[in-house]
């Protein structure tokens, strides 16, 4: 029984760490979706480029990992600003154009990464090494730190949205753009902010994932898929939904593989999405 309990606790610990990373990606995606009304399919590539930037800063310039993550977040935030102004704003309201430019951006950024860094995997320094032991369960320190960073960023974002004027304006734009406009809030000022925050969060997620695993030009695909699943489960544009669904999906990815084989592991999230859509089509926290 003791073995079984520690086995389950181990799986939960694995899942919580995964959930933290998913949340960082999903928060950015859902912020952009709710405020700008666009599905940023190149978000995974922002995550990937953010990670490679950290690789460059740490390996070539010798900058420490945590400073490099902050620089990467800032740089990707600025790139987000350029993308919003130069690419996404002109397409706003035209679904097909948004999808087309996002896919084009994905291909350009991925090809750039292949040409610049090659297909060979790269690594960035570890967030931490070794393990922590809680109640007989070993939790890798790097995942524990990743979980703390994700939690800190989620709380910071929540406080920003709740406590600041700009945050409230973002909320207003997300809930009712026309109403926000009538209250004197200019969505054209709020959209770049959402894009910058979204891209910065993606860069942080990419850098942390790169520190735990490895960097490849295709590393952004899986987080994008996970992010989209989280948005659907949590509810379109719901930040609290993204956090809950991120933890839920992380727990599933931590627990299911240790009890079932790879086939069940890969199809389970999709089955759950279908079930949730059948029962609550707007997602767990979405509005009708």
């Amino acid at each position: 029984m003791e073995t079984s309990l520690s086995f389950v606790l181990q799986a939960i610990a694995n899942g919580l760490a995964m959930g933290g990373l998913y949340i960082l990606v999903a928060l950015g995606l859902t912020l952009i979706l709710s405020i700008m009304g666009i599905l940023q399919l190149a978000h995974g590539e922002i995550y990937m480029i953010g990670a490679y930037l950290v690789y460059y800063l740490t390996s070539s310039l010798g900058i420490s990992l945590y400073i490099a993550i902050l620089i990467s977040m800032g740089a990707m935030g600025l790139i987000g600003l350029v993308l919003e102004r130069g690419i996404f704003r002109p397409c706003k309201g035209d679904f097909l154009s948004v999808i087309t430019v996002a896919i084009a951006l994905t291909l350009i950024l991925r090809s750039y990464a292949v040409a610049q860094f090659g297909l060979f995997e790269r690594t960035v320094p570890k967030l931490a090494s070794g393990s922590l032991v809680f109640f007989g369960v070993a939790v890798p320190k790097d995942r524990f730190v990743a979980m703390l960073i994700a939690a800190a960023m989620s709380v910071a974002l929540y406080l920003f949205l709740k406590m600041t004027r700009y945050g409230q304006a973002m909320f207003a734009c997300a809930q009712n753009p026309e109403g926000a406009r009538l209250r004197g809030i200019n969505p054209d000022l709020i959209s770049p902010m959402a894009m910058m925050i979204g891209c910065a969060l993606a860069a942080a997620g990419g850098a942390i994932a790169g520190s735990i695993w490895m960097l490849t030009p295709t590393m952004g695909t899986l987080p994008l898929v996970k992010g989209l699943i989280i948005i659907v489960i949590g509810g379109m544009g719901s930040l609290s939904g993204a956090i809950v669904a991120g933890i839920f999906l992380g727990l599933m990815d931590g627990i299911i593989p240790v009890f079932f084989g790879p086939v069940v592991t890969s199809i389970a999230p999709l089955v759950i999405v279908v079930l949730i859509l059948l029962v609550k089509p707007q997602g767990l926290f979405g509005h009708g």
Binding site: T3, F7, Q10, A11, N14, M18, V82, G86, I87, P90, C91, D94, S97, V101, A104, L105, I108, L109, S111, Y112, A115, Q116, G118, L119, F120, E121, T123, K126, S129, G130, S131, V133, A138, P140, K141, D142, R143, W213, M214, L222, D253, G254, P257, V258, G261, P262, T265, S266
Partner: protein, 403 residues
């Protein structure tokens, strides 16, 4: 969308693409010589096997450069050098078949090297055999698979050892260095390794080891913590990572979850890859079937130096296997004194004594008759590198199994 907006998007995309193109790396020129033997290279250069595929391909290119610098091989008094024509096999049978057809019929290639996956090997051999072209398959992830060498494939040789040949060597090494370790757990990708696992079970049973767990992970897995959580539930003394290019991540996950026993990886991943990726602090009691790239012989050193000079990237050990493959083909062509693929096949079949062929790993031969019914497999020495406390403690070369 307004015309101005469209122009704005196009301008931003073009500027972005232009900037990225300016800062990217251009591909190196392919060297050409007057008297050349065209070698078709059919390795995956995209998809999940792109890294080993490119490394093998680079190994071919480096050997071609070395041969050129040495003046080439002599056939009936005439000098020849190699020109490597590479095509992306993409890890798919259809892509490999199309690429093989192009190499054989458009480029007129008489010697093709490549593979890595069984469906690719089958597709390539079907094209080569029909056209009477020599085919050197680079790998056998699943020895004995219908794609592997057999008497009914007269134009196919395999220019690498069986990965399951490493099992006996590794078990012997384990017994000598960790005599108390009796319980083994196998970790393998779910790409049809069952015959190899079955053979390993027999080999371990003969040597009084118990297999307490077999964990097959999904191809493409990056997070091995859940995988190792399951493995460690069986409380193994040893973890055996079966032919995985991600063994370093498996080791990391196992160590993070508290496993302190010996960890065996029979892929050709070098110790340096483990050190660079997961750090020396967790590289302890690590047994790898890889060459020592730090203290090595002159051939391997030359491959590494040329790799770093030519590609400016970290060396990947599969490159040595690619180098060996083209080197032994050069030796067989010289032995045959002919560019006729059938005569080269005959020459290969005659080179069955240890030392008949030279490789970076040491003296080699062609073998495999006992197991596959035909001497169409390159038998070369098997390296075992032992890492203790983050340092390479030793590298032993187990001699090739020749007649």
């Amino acid at each position: 969308m307004k015309r101005k907006s469209i122009s704005q998007i196009v301008v931003v995309m073009v500027v972005l693409a232009g900037f990225l193109a300016l800062t990217s790396i251009s591909s190196p020129d392919r060297a050409r010589a007057a008297e050349t033997i065209k070698i078709g290279s059919l390795m995956p250069q995209s998809g999940p096997l792109a890294v080993p595929g490119m490394a093998w391909n680079r190994g071919f290119e480096i050997y071609a450069d070395v041969l050129k610098d040495q003046g080439g091989i002599t056939i009936n008094g005439k000098q020849y050098v190699f020109e490597v024509l590479d095509e992306d096999a993409q890890g798919s049978a259809d892509a490999a078949r199309s690429a093989a057809l192009k190499l054989v019929h458009r480029e007129g290639v008489k010697f093709v090297l490549g593979g890595l996956l069984e469906p690719v090997i089958q597709a390539t051999n079907s094209v080569c055999e029909k056209a009477g072209v020599f085919y050197g398959a680079t790998n056998a992830n699943i020895p004995g698979h219908p794609a592997d060498v057999s008497p009914d494939k007269p134009m196919q040789v395999r220019l690498n050892i069986n990965y399951d040949d490493t099992h006996v060597v590794d078990l012997k090494y384990l017994k000598e260095h960790y005599p108390e370790a009796g319980k083994l757990a196998i970790v393998a990708p779910d790409i049809g390794y069952e015959p190899m696992i079955k053979r390993f079970r027999e080999q371990t049973a003969e040597r009084k080891f118990d297999i307490v767990h077999v964990e097959k992970f999904q191809w493409g897995t990056t997070d091995f913590v859940p995988v190792m959580t399951k493995v460690l539930k069986s409380k193994p003394d040893v973890i055996f990572a079966m032919v995985s290019g991600q063994a370093q991540y498996q080791l990391q996950a196992a160590r993070q979850l508290g496993f302190n026993g010996p960890f065996v990886s029979n892929s050709p991943l070098a110790p340096g890859v483990f050190f660079n990726v997961v750090g020396r602090d967790i590289c302890d009691k690590l047994i790898i079937n890889s060459i020592n790239t730090v203290e090595t012989n002159e051939h391997i050193e030359e491959v590494i130096n040329r790799w770093e000079e030519k590609y400016g990237e970290r060396f990947v050990t599969d490159g040595v296997q690619g180098y060996d493959a083209l080197w032994v083909l050069a030796q067989a062509i010289e032995e045959a004194q002919s560019l006729d693929p059938k005569k080269v096949m005959d020459a290969f079949e005659s080179l069955t004594e240890r030392g008949d062929l030279e490789t970076c790993h040491g003296p080699a031969c062609m073998g495999g008759k006992e197991r596959f019914g035909v001497n169409h497999v390159l038998m070369r020495p098997i390296p075992v590198t032992h890492v203790v406390d983050g340092e390479i403690a030793s590298t032993e070369m187990f001699p090739a199994r020749c007649e």
